[in-house]
């Protein structure tokens, strides 16, 4: 994808946390693009850096120890990583907005829904209080909250989890952003509510025409919603391709293993397929070689020696695994 088309270009992003005075990268050398109107799903296990990466884009990392160390986040050609706090405030909530995983804690318990809804419009528009309140009520209607004129005067604890997530969505789309980042928006919700919320997000994404970065570990959601998929493992992108090729021609052993872990309707079996082991923790990240080597069914001796690179095996399908010469740092040049 050429850079003119891209709405968001993340380039060589390194984000880390200072633990005991030492910098540990939770996101290491991540690059990908999001085109206008496109839905990009970021998938991976817990602890693989998906959330940290999305928080880096919004500059919402925990202030006391989180930091973007290297790399660029180009939004419509502007590097977000180099903006001042005030410039960033003008973008957050207006051009890029975000929905979080935990609707139960994401709203301020002591302020009314209306106050919190109005806030984003007060930040980014010059409308009068009455107009803003009317807009807030109509936004709540748009996300499917009935009696929204009463809800604005209620407090978060009076609403269910699904309702709160709807409120979060209403806040996120209030200024018609060009990019919506949804960080596991349905993980904390009941299964029946999950489907409703995803449906709502899709509907609104089409209405507003915004691009979306959906972070999830639910491959069912990916199949349903994604145009493109970025698979992350241990802070790195391991595969980046369109949704069809991901499901029908997965290349990276990690992606294959993830797909194998999905239970299938037509099969009956006692045990589910799993990927053995866990994602290495920040402090125990292998310094050399592939980060997946310990859990990889296709691991070769060379895997612990050579740092695999993200390379395009074919147009629009990038993989980070030395099974493919495009990822091998030495053989790469010859391809």
């Amino acid at each position: 994808m050429s850079s003119q088309e891209a709405l968001l270009e993340v380039q060589n992003l390194h984000t880390g946390f200072t633990i005991d005075g030492e910098m540990h990268h939770a996101v290491k050398d991540v690059s990908f693009d999001v085109a206008p109107g496109e839905v990009v799903c970021i998938v991976g296990e817990s602890g693989c850096g998906k959330s940290v990466m999305s928080l880096s884009i919004m500059d919402l990392l925990p202030r006391h120890n989180g930091k973007i160390d290297k790399g660029q986040i180009l939004f419509k050609g502007r590097d977000l990583a180099s903006l001042t706090e005030d410039e960033m405030n003008n973008i957050r909530g207006k051009d890029i907005s975000m929905i979080f995983q935990e609707p139960m804690t994401a709203l301020n318990p002591v302020l009314t829904i209306g106050t919190q809804m109005d806030e984003v419009l007060i930040n980014h528009t010059n409308n009068s209080k009455e107009e803003i309140r009317r807009k807030s009520i109509s936004l709540l209607k748009q996300v499917g909250i009935s009696r929204s004129d009463q809800i604005v005067n209620e407090y978060p604890h009076q609403l269910s989890g699904g309702m709160r997530q709807r409120v979060m969505i209403a806040m996120a789309i209030a200024c018609q952003p060009q990019l919506l980042i949804a960080d596991e928006p349905t993980t904390a919700l009941d299964v029946t509510v999950q489907a409703q919320i995803l449906e709502l997000i899709t509907k609104i994404q089409e209405e507003v025409g915004m691009a979306m970065m959906l972070i999830t570990h639910d491959l069912g959601v990916v199949a349903e919603m994604a145009d493109r998929v970025v698979v992350m493992y241990a802070g790195q992108v391991v595969e980046d391709t369109d949704v069809d090729r991901l499901f029908y021609e997965p290349k990276h052993p990690y992606t294959k293993a993830l797909l194998d872990s999905i239970p299938r309707m037509e099969e009956t079996r006692e045990e589910l397929n799993t990927i053995k082991g866990i994602v290495p923790s920040l402090k125990n990240m292998p310094q050399r070689g592939c980060r997946f080597v310990d859990r990889c069914p296709a691991a070769m001796p060379e895997c612990s020696e050579v740092d695999p690179q993200l390379g395009e095996v074919e147009k629009g399908h990038a993989v980070r695994c030395i099974l493919y010469d495009t990822s091998h740092p030495e053989k790469r040049a010859e391809v």
């Binding site: 919004m58 957050r92 909530g93 979080f100 994401a106 301020n108 318990p109 806030e119």
Partner: protein, 321 residues
């Protein structure tokens, strides 16, 4: 809310009944009685003392004495002070305004100092400013109140001559005039300052720690994601949440507003309830002692109720339906 309040007030009745028994028992347990504070036993005939005891009802069985005292209480009669030769109600009535003035002034000093210091320290934790504030606070907390009071008198009254060292400024001016009120404020400021500074530390620390904790909450991240400015995040989102624990402390303060500060009032010879309590205990003036203790119990109960009601106002989650 109304029903809740009424229920809470009703519950106070049995509590007060028990408190009254305890107070009465404590007064009985004090060595001596009203007479031993009044009459020199060496120069008075035992027959006369016995006669007086009989007349005052001090020889009656305990439960009858209690019943008489309690019945009088219900008729708003707290008895008579032997030392001051006046009704306890009017005696306390004369002292209470002084104590309230002192307490309110010291509370204002505490709240203003704690609010600004706590807010600054909470927003800039682990900086030089934060450490300075904490250092000063812990120093104030560590100094005993009588030492602080003596230092304050030495510096502000004797060396600088800014404030009077003793008295409550009631005498010397026509009550109600501006000069009268100015004189009272002038006399009250120094004890209020000492009193206020001493408790500022805990309030500041409460506010600071809560602000630090709240600033890492998810809703703060949501507010940032909406493009809200850092100032608004602190003043609107965080402070509204962090003020909640301070409100509980306010409930306890109600009791201290009425009860006054025993040590500070005594050192400054400030004519308040605290000083009255000490002198009554010394003079075995049990009617006054019991009345003051009862008043403190009522104030504590009301303070707790007020804190609970205020809680509901600030935190919608515990608003009572």
């Amino acid at each position: 809310m109304l029903i809740y309040t009424l229920r809470r007030i009703l519950i106070m009745i049995p509590i007060l009944f028990m408190v009254s028994i305890v107070v009465f028992a404590l007064a009985l347990a004090m060595p001596g009685d009203a007479l031993s504070g009044q009459i020199d036993p060496a120069n008075t005939s035992p027959e006369y003392i016995e006669e007086m005891r009989e007349e005052l009802g001090l020889n009656d069985p305990i439960h009858i004495q209690y019943a008489r005292w309690a019945t009088d209480l219900l008729q708003w009669d707290f008895g008579r002070s032997y030392t001051h030769q006046m009704d306890v109600t009017s005696l306390i009535g004369a002292r209470l305004p002084n104590t309230i003035l002192l307490s309110v002034m010291s509370l204002i000093i505490t709240y203003v100092l704690a609010f600004f210091m706590g807010r600054y320290a909470g927003r800039n934790p682990y900086t030089k400013g934060d450490y300075t504030i904490q250092g000063v606070n812990y120093l104030m907390l560590a100094i005993p109140s009588f030492v602080a009071a003596l230092f304050a008198i030495f510096i502000f009254s004797f060396q600088l001559g800014l404030f009077p060292a003793t008295g409550s400024g009631v005498s010397g001016n026509e009550p109600g005039t501006i000069a009268y009120w100015l004189s009272r404020l002038h006399h009250t400021f120094l004890p209020a300052l000492v009193l206020g500074m001493l408790v500022t530390a805990s309030y500041t620390q409460f506010l600071r720690n809560d602000i630090i904790e709240s600033s890492q909450k998810d809703y703060v991240r949501t507010a940032r994601a909406k493009g809200t400015k850092e100032n608004d995040i602190y003043n609107k989102h965080i402070l509204r949440n962090s003020i909640i624990p301070i409100v509980t402390l306010f409930g306890f303060d109600i009791a201290s507003i009425i009860g006054g500060a025993v040590i500070i009032e005594t050192i400054f010879t400030y004519q308040g309830i605290g000083e009255l309590l000490i002198s009554s205990i010394n003079n075995r003036d049990s009617a006054v002692t019991m009345a003051v203790f009862l008043m403190l119990a009522v104030a504590t109960l009301i303070g707790n109720l007020l804190a609970d009601l205020l809680y509901g106002v600030i935190d919608p989650r515990i608003r009572v339906e």
